[in-house]
């Protein structure tokens, strides 16, 4: 199966899931409307009438027709969300590049938020008290613009905008694997309960903020609208007390905001829920002629670096397969395949995993070179020679201080003396640049300084320190699963690998994990200063440390045969003893 057909097969499957999510979100609109109507039409003394009126309203033809625009907006929202999930994750080093790449997409998504917010408000106001229902109303025998209606429509738009800014503006949409993988029905119930309950609280702040804004600028907006539509101005919401003392309006606004926030939150959760369902993958590449071409192997899916979701799903599939305790499924990994009785499954999986580790570690090392604290620091900092004249207590103090500083990432205020300076021969001949070269260098430096002084240039066109490292760490979820799965496979191979297919690759696996661990240890001192990837870093580091420890402990007796090199062996033995 070619790379392109693998991508197409995976995207087709994910598209089906997105379609299911869209259908569910459309269905949820009617549930949310029912909840809203139950609140709005509440009658304590006539409960049966209350419920029957609500249900008849939901099932009426008006509702079905009036909700078509909202359903259309929800579908558009879903399509954009789906596209964002399946899009390639590109690294944008500067803010300018980020704007060029992401701004159109984000703007479109913002428009979808505003549309859903506006249409929800428009639909829901149709079921409210008559004062709130229409944009115009009769005041003193003349048409007036209804400030109540304007308030509620604005509330819808503001709620959509608020959700976009708080959830989607900076962050990319992420697939979330649940810690506890419940049955589908239970997941749905949990998501509904938590989202609805949470939104009731979360909507308080935007409601108050919008009310404040409406008090300040609502009059201007109403005036403009009345001018546009050539109707009279509504004076009911003028002044602070006009807005603040209207309990019913505030209640409607709060309810509407909570409905819009929960609607958007539910859509996000449904997409995440559907996309994180286990992906049907195969271990063995079936070569029979009649087999469907669309069967995707784990290895092929792991190789799809440009579809992040598929890579995550493949890694999770491998992790589940290995940790599920079913040795029969695992045995497929260790099988010898025809023709040639070669361990093709293991070979391809191991190569893919090692390539993932290697690429990630290389990129991480490159990115760490740009962090000023870590720039040029070797894997294990060499001890600087201590002069013979220093006393033992002074030496001990220096060692302890250095150890403390390294642990907490404290840099020395004085730049370290380079040994090269000491070793450099005194009578070395230097090339002296001619006057032309000197002038051009000075000119270049001054020009650079001048440009940097222009406000916003550095902000827009310079790569923030550690941005690449942050990007790599936030997208390290597939690696977390793969590392743990691979270490489990290695440990299980002791008892389940009858042909010894794993043992030839053990040194490479251990070395690549050890290399990654070394780099992450180096990064640990500055990880807290990097923006964003705090938990991603701890998850990855914890996974690498535990996986390496597991392999080293399981193969403790054979380590010296697997890793002949003295230094590496010593490091691994340290992992077992002190981690």
């Amino acid at each position: 199966m070619s790379h392109l057909s693998t991508i197409n097969a995976c995207k087709l499957l994910l598209f089906r899931r997105c379609l299911q999510a869209v259908l569910l979100t459309v269905g949820i609109q009617f549930l949310l409307l029912t909840i809203f109507l139950l609140f709005v039409n509440f009658q304590l003394l006539r409960p049966l009438h209350w419920i029957s009126v609500t249900l008849s309203l939901v099932c009426s033809m008006y509702t079905w027709f009036a909700s078509i625009p909202l359903v259309g907006a929800v579908v558009l929202y879903g399509v954009i969300l789906c596209q964002q999930h399946l899009a390639e994750r590109l690294y944008c080093p500067t803010r300018f590049r980020w704007l060029v790449h992401y701004a159109p997409r984000k703007l479109l998504f913002l428009a979808a938020h505003l549309l859903v917010g506006y249409l929800t408000a428009w639909l829901y106001t149709g079921y409210m008290h008559t004062d709130y229902r229409h944009l115009w109303y009769k005041c003193y025998e003349q048409d007036c613009i209804s400030a109540y209606h304007v308030y509620l429509l604005g509330m819808g738009i503001f709620a959509g905008c608020y959700y976009f800014v708080s959830v989607h503006m900076r962050q990319e949409v992420e697939i979330e694997f649940p810690i506890v993988n419940h049955l589908w029905g239970e997941k749905l119930r949990e998501v509904l309960y938590s989202s609805l309950a949470r939104s009731l609280i979360k909507s308080l702040l935007p409601t108050l903020a919008y009310t404040l804004l409406f008090w300040l600028f609502g009059g201007v907006v109403c005036h403009k609208l009345s001018h546009i539509f050539a109707v009279d101005l509504d004076e009911r919401l003028e002044g602070f007390f006009g807005v603040a003392t209207n309990g019913r309006l505030l209640f409607y606004g709060w309810l509407l905001t909570s409905q819009i926030l929960s609607n958007m939150d539910l859509m996000r959760c449904f997409y995440s829920m559907f996309l994180s369902e286990e992906f049907p993958l195969a271990i063995t590449k079936n070569r029979a002629a009649f087999v469907q071409e669309k069967e995707v192997t784990v290895v092929a899916a792991l190789g799809l670096s440009n579809v992040y979701v598929v890579q995550c799903l493949a890694a999770k599939y491998l992790y589940n397969l290995v940790t599920a305790g079913d040795s029969e499924k695992r045995s497929e990994l260790f099988q010898l395949t025809e023709p040639g009785n070669r361990p093709a499954n293991w070979r391809s999986l191991c190569d893919q995993c090692l390539s993932l580790f290697g690429n990630f570690t290389d990129e991480l090392i490159d990115s760490m070179q740009k962090i000023s604290v870590l720039k040029g620091s070797p894997s294990s900092p060499p001890l600087t020679p201590i002069s013979e004249s220093a006393s033992a207590s002074l030496m001990a103090e220096r060692v302890l201080t250095r150890q403390y500083n390294q642990m907490h990432g404290i840099r020395s205020m004085v730049s370290p003396r380079s040994n090269a300076v000491i070793d450099r021969p005194v009578d070395r001949i230097h090339r002296v640049p001619d006057w032309c070269e000197r002038t051009s260098m000075q000119l270049e430096q001054s020009l650079q300084l001048l440009i940097n002084r222009i406000p916003g240039i550095v902000y827009m066109f310079t790569e923030p320190e550690g941005a690449k490292t942050t990007f790599l760490l936030t997208h390290s979820l597939p690696l977390v699963f793969v590392i743990q799965a691979l270490s489990q496979i290695c440990v299980f191979s002791l008892t389940e690998d009858r042909y010894g297919v794993v043992q030839t690759d053990l040194p490479d696996i251990i070395r690549s994990m050890s290399r990654l661990k070394g780099e992450l240890d180096k990064l640990s001192s500055v990880a807290s200063n990097l923006r964003g990837p705090g938990s991603s870093f701890s998850v990855l580091r914890g996974a690498v440390r535990r996986s390496l420890f597991h392999i080293c402990v399981a193969f403790g007796e054979y380590l010296s045969e697997l890793i002949p090199s003295g230094e590496e062996l010593h490091q691994l033995q340290t992992v077992i003893n002190q981690e």
Partner: protein
């Protein structure tokens, strides 16, 4: 059904002239640390200097101190600070205000308890009913109060987690660092409802931690590295005891009532509900190393029960019935000529990682019973082996646990924490 009457006395470790002649002696035990908890507490080297002690306290105004306490420790800590002696001396009116607020809250709590009686306060006495450590209430600590459980993180030699009144405290015990040993935990997680943690268990891979609290009707599964958690709901009565099966397939959850549940972790966390004898709860439980058998004892009767998690028939029946079988009678009986008793209400069970020995401690008698176990694919056989005693008759085991095994040829070693503070290691065949 096996019984305690056939137990033989194991030659006491201390009674042998040379411990290396003992049946349980292995050379590795010589390298194990010799610990006496009570001695360690008074050891001057244990009282280390921490960085925080080097700072000189500054003068702080009363209001500033209360506000700081509020942001650091929350509402209840700030209320306690308001009512403290120091505050009363500096600003008596604040102390009185604190008293009034406290009284009002007391009235509200009383009313709440009348409406919701199951939410009553989780005192140390109440927690002591459900923990596996004998005489737990006598233990004390200052920074972390009401410590109920401690666990090393699997596949890691430096991380330890402590379950206490304050929540979960994660510590890094790194002996390679001379400086930088801190006096504060590396991570700290509070229960979402600010309840004490009464039981916890790591899964095999050390990436998930399950916790239970006797005030909470759900089990919480934490992912400490990412700082995320998810509750397992519909437990029934509040949870008191957790045991993860060795292969991560099942999670046993005992409650404060007769109900207990077993969750199938690999099948969408579906759950099976069981009940034990009237008026009691599951005191202790343990999984067989293969994860197919669960042994437990309730507080109502000293009978060891077995629950089997394996399909016995080739053709799966429509109703997959599992059965709780009594396998050992643990009623107290005379252990030796001195008529010292062994048995009675069970305190704790521990099964060795090889599946050959089961260790049982009791609430009211001081000996440790050791049973031999033989596990086959569909069956479990148990027979009495011998019993272990302390150095003196009054010494009783407070807690026992087996060391995890990573190598094939390792011997199972049980660590016994005696009430005297002595830590003993015992190697099995």
């Amino acid at each position: 059904m096996a019984a305690l009457s056939n137990l033989k006395q194991c030659p006491p470790f201390f009674a042998l002239a040379d411990p290396s002649f003992g049946a349980n002696h292995i050379p590795e035990l010589d390298n194990y640390p010799r610990i006496h908890v009570k001695g360690e507490l008074h050891n001057s080297s244990a009282q280390r200097f921490y960085g925080g002690q080097g700072f000189v306290p500054v003068h702080e105004g009363v209001l500033k101190r209360i506000i700081r306490t509020f942001f650091e420790g929350g509402f209840w800590d700030s209320l306690a600070e308001t009512r403290s002696e120091k505050t009363r001396e500096q600003a008596p009116w604040l102390g009185k205000t604190g008293d009034y607020i406290s009284q009002l809250l007391g009235i509200a709590t009383t009313l709440k308890l009348k409406v919701l009686p199951h939410t009553h306060d989780l005192s140390a006495e109440r927690i002591a009913q459900y923990v596996e450590t004998r005489d737990w209430i006598d233990s004390d600590s200052t920074t972390q109060t009401l410590i109920t459980c401690i666990a090393w993180r699997p596949l890691s030699v430096t991380e330890i987690v402590i379950g206490c009144r304050q929540g979960l405290c994660f510590w890094i015990v790194d002996n390679t660092m001379i400086l930088g040993r801190t006096n504060s935990p590396s991570q700290f997680f509070k229960h979402p409802e600010n309840l004490p943690i009464t039981s916890m268990q790591w899964n095999k891979l050390g990436n998930l931690l399950a916790t239970a609290s006797i005030g909470d009707r759900s089990i919480i599964i934490w992912q400490p590295d990412s700082g995320l958690m998810e509750p397992l709901k519909r437990l029934g009565p509040p949870g008191s005891l957790l045991k993860w099966s060795p292969g991560n397939d099942w999670l046993f959850a005992g409650t404060v009532d007769r109900v207990f549940r077993v969750w199938n972790c690999h099948n969408h966390w579906t759950t099976e509900r069981w009940t034990c004898g009237n008026g009691g709860h599951v005191q202790t439980a343990c999984w067989s190393p293969c994860g197919r058998f669960l042994l437990f004892v309730s507080t109502t009767e000293p009978i060891l029960y077995r629950l089997q998690f394996v399909q016995q028939t080739l053709l799966k029946s429509t109703k997959d019935e599992k059965e709780v079988l009594p396998i050992a009678d643990l009623n107290a009986c005379s252990a030796d000529e001195n008529r010292s008793l062994i048995g009675g209400p069970v305190q704790q069970l521990a099964w060795d990682p090889r599946g050959n020995y089961l260790v049982i401690t009791f609430k009211s008698t001081n000996h440790i019973a050791v049973f031999r176990t033989f596990i086959t694919k569909y069956d479990l056989q148990i027979s009495p082996a011998y019993y272990l005693s302390g150095e003196i008759a009054a010494e009783h085991p407070s807690f026992v646990c087996f060391q995890p095994l990573y190598k094939e040829d390792e011997r199972s070693i049980v660590t016994i924490a005696w009430s005297s503070g002595r830590i003993q290691y015992y190697a099995f065949d």
